[in-house]
Each structure stands twice: as C-alpha cells, then as structure tokens.
Amino acid sequence: MININEVSETNEMIEKENLDVRTITMGISLLDCISSDLETLNKNIYEKIYNSAKDLVKTGDEISRDFGIPIVNKRISVTPIAIIGASACKEPKDFVSIAKTLDKAAKDVGVNLLGGYSALVSKGMTTADKLLIQSIPEALATTDVVCSSVNVGSTKTGINMDAVRLLGDIILETAELTKDNQSAGCMKFVVFCNAPDDNPFMAGAFHGVTEADRIINVGVSGPGVVKTALEKVRGENFEVLCETIKKTAFKVTRVGQLVAKEASDRLGVPFGIVDLSLAPTPAIGDSVADILHEIGVEHAGAPGTTAALALLNDQVKKGGVMASSYVGGLSGAFIPVSEDQGMINAVNAGCLTLEKLEAMTCVCSVGLDMIAIPGDTKATTLAGIIADEMAIGMINQKTTAVRLIPAIGKKVGDIVDFGGLFGYSPVMPVNGFSCDDFVNRGGRIPAPIHSFKN
C-alpha cells in the first residue's frame, strides 16, 4: 500500500517543483475533409475538428482535478494543410482562409494552440506546398492560435535548399507583418529536419499521414523535479548523477503515461505516445539551464555544457522509455532561450551565444528555439542558419528545428517580451559575414551516405 512519504514526495513535486503534464494534444486527420471546393473544404474541416475535440478541454480539466496534477495545455494537431488544401487552393489567400477556419475551430473548442498549418517539402515542393509557404506570413498575422511548420530536410532525402532559401524571406516577412506585436508571428513558426509525425509540442506539432484518424499524445515536463533531485546529490560522481536523473525521469513519465491512458479512455480516442521532453517555462525553478548549472557549469554555455546536456538528454530517455508503453514525439531536452529564465540569465551574462546553442542542438532533442535576433538580419543569413541546423539533423539522424524571431526595429541587447509562456529574450548577435553565394545556388543537398541502409 502507498505510504505517507510517497504521497508527500509526489505532492511536493507538483506543488513546489512545477511537475505538470505540459500538454494533452489530440491529433486529428483531416484527410477525409478534402474537397476541390474551398467553401466545402473549410466547412468539413471546422466540423471534423469541432466534433472530434469538443470534449478535450473539459476532459483534461476533469483528469487534472481527479489526480491533483496540473494539465497546463490542451491542444490540437492536424494533417499538414498543404496536403489538405492542395485540390481547393489556387492562391495563397485560399490557404489563409483555411488558417482562419482552423483558428475559429480551435477557439470554439477552447484549446490554446493548434498545429499543422504545415508543408512537408524535404525533397521537393508541389504547387500547393509553395502556395502554403507563401501564405504563412499572412496566415500567422491574421490568426491567434494557429501554428505553422515546414519540414525542409531528412536523413533519407537530404535538404531542400530551395525551400530553405524561401523560408529566409518568409520568416522576415512574418516578422514584419507582426512587428507591432513583438514579431509574434515568428513564435508560431518552426522549420524542421526529420520532423516526427506524432509530436505533441507546439509550434511544430502536426498529425502525420502515417497516423490513425484521431490520437491522443501527451507531453510531460519536469525540469524543476530533476533539478531538485540533483540538489540532493551535489558533488557525487557521474554514476550517481545519471542514476538520479534516470529515476526522476521514470517517475515523471509514469504520470504522463497515466494521464495519457486516462484521456484516451475517457475520450474514446486511441493513445498514441508520451513525449519525454524536459520542457522549461519562464517560471522560476522550471529551467533546463538550471539543471545544467546544478550538474556543474556556472552558466549554460560554459565549457562542459554540451557534455552535460548530452548526458541529461540520454538519461531522461533511458528513464522515460521504461515508464511508458509508447514513447515518441521529440523526447529529449528543450533548450529555448526566451522560455527559460536560466538561459536568459546565461545570455545576459555573456556566456551563451548562438554558436554555442547550435553546438548544444547536436545532443538535445530539438534546435535553435525562441531566439530573438536583430530585425535587420538578412534573409540569406537566416537561410544559412537554417541550413546549418538542418545539416546537423540530417547527418546525425535526429530531429532539429529552427524558431528564430527577427525583432523588427530592435538591436543586439534590446529586450523583446513575448508574454506568458513564451517569456522574454535579449536580442542575440548574429554572425554578419555573408553566405549569399551558398544559399542562392538553388536545388537540394543530396541525402547522406548513411541513409542507404537497404
């Protein structure tokens, strides 16, 4: 039987160490909504989303109350819209009309974000893919909760450099269109290499075409729990350090598994995966950078940081994998800048640079995330940064992503406040040397040699 110490431990994690279930995300396939008539398509999409997810928020709140565990976000991911709108959309504004339908459906069911305004173009772009990408700035500027992503590369296909080059312009245009609101459009847009089909986390979530009609994916979180556990083993060797992270990740993930199964049962929707990612928030004590500090580096970015992050990420996976029957999504440690107070402190201290963050993304789960850069950064430079990050993903057979926010009118050192869970960030310097001749070549980078495993 459960004893009082175990009960106290769990409740202390929840009350003092910010243990929560970060998101229950319902994946919804829109393939059966496809029509060549735009109006019919929009109507089908609205009805499918509304009917599938109308009880999602209520059910999430009930589970939260029954178990006494906060479930912070309830969200939706849908089939990439470039596929869904391919037959009906003849120009970018047609795609924008779908974005507005998604926005309305998401708000009507009460979720706080909806992902899947996406295109998968790792080898080439169809006409529809290109139209959707061109529509992204306006779609993100005229909606509130719709998130967009474009997958531009994979280990199997190489990198679509035409798309990478185009996205340099698209990100700047999105920043410009939303400049009165801290370039907020860019917070809702991610570029991916090796994007997973079942990611529950925003802004990069979409419901892959390999998935069932509907699915429940859950993202757990608990940087504060890991940090508190590590405080108790200060000065111990790496074996003790790693065992502690593993055990803590196991406990945190078991809660995610329980909530995922419960949500799946109550909603009558199959359980997909639990995503093991350690996802920070700007709240004090909910920071991945603080874990790195506890492991032993003065600030994130100091020598040793990449190794510390590598072991953290690996132990989280080892502990989490046994705790859940299906693990998927991104599963690792997120290292966003603006959403993590410890990262912000490291930037302000002059310890953390874009280049060091790029190195850290080789061993963490995602990539360059929530980083404010000067608004006058060139589109080709943005494309160069994206290409670098995609190459890391392609060669290392892992997911990488880029979510940069060119802060229009701001210069290095200025502060951009995104508000709420998105946090705030000092504008970070970008290497100003040119890569124009590289990104303007056109075409694609071939798949790497280790993709030929057949």
């Binding site: 459960i2 431990e9 769990t10 409740n11 006494g68 809660v255």
Partner: protein, 90 residues
C-alpha cells in the same frame, strides 16, 4: 474499490481528524488506512479511503473537503490513488 488518497497538511489544532472523519461518515466514504505525523508543529495526515459505496461524486467530495479545510486552517486534497501507484510502483 474506488480508492482515493486524502492528504491534510497544516498547522496542528484540536479536532482535525474528527471533522474530516465526520464528513466521510456522512457521505458513506469508508476509511481503509490512516497515517499521521507532526513535523515541527505541522500536521501531516494521509488517509486511504474507498468511495465505491458513496453516492457523492469525487469532484463534490473534493470541493467540500477543501472548504472544510479552509475553515480549520489546513489544506485538504483528494486524489485518485493511481497517480501515486504509477509513480512509485512498477
């Protein structure tokens, strides 16, 4: 069995257990186990109860006990047992 864990944490005072138990009895909620400690003047109690014979929904019981706790200056939480089982048992 519909097992719920009730935790009571707060400053020690006369009659905490009596008030909680009275509410449970009135609502046909059976107590299976009680453990209690006092750490530096703070009262810390855990009860394992069975709600399968009670007609009161968990959400209502949870809210009523929370209010009862506020009245005597302690924090009372009701949680389904599975969250603790999941975390601490393989």
């Amino acid at each position: 069995m519909n097992r719920i864990i009730i935790t009571v944490v707060g400053k020690d005072t006369v009659g905490i257990i009596a008030k909680v138990c009275t509410y449970l009895a009135e609502n046909d909620i059976n107590i299976l186990d009680i453990s209690q400690t006092i750490v530096s003047g703070y009262f810390n109690m855990m009860m394992i109860v069975d709600m399968s014979k009670s007609s009161t929904p968990l959400a209502d019981a949870s809210q009523a006990l929370e209010q009862l706790g506020e009245g005597i200056g302690v924090v009372i939480k009701c949680q389904r047992e599975e969250i603790f089982d999941s975390m601490h048992r393989i």
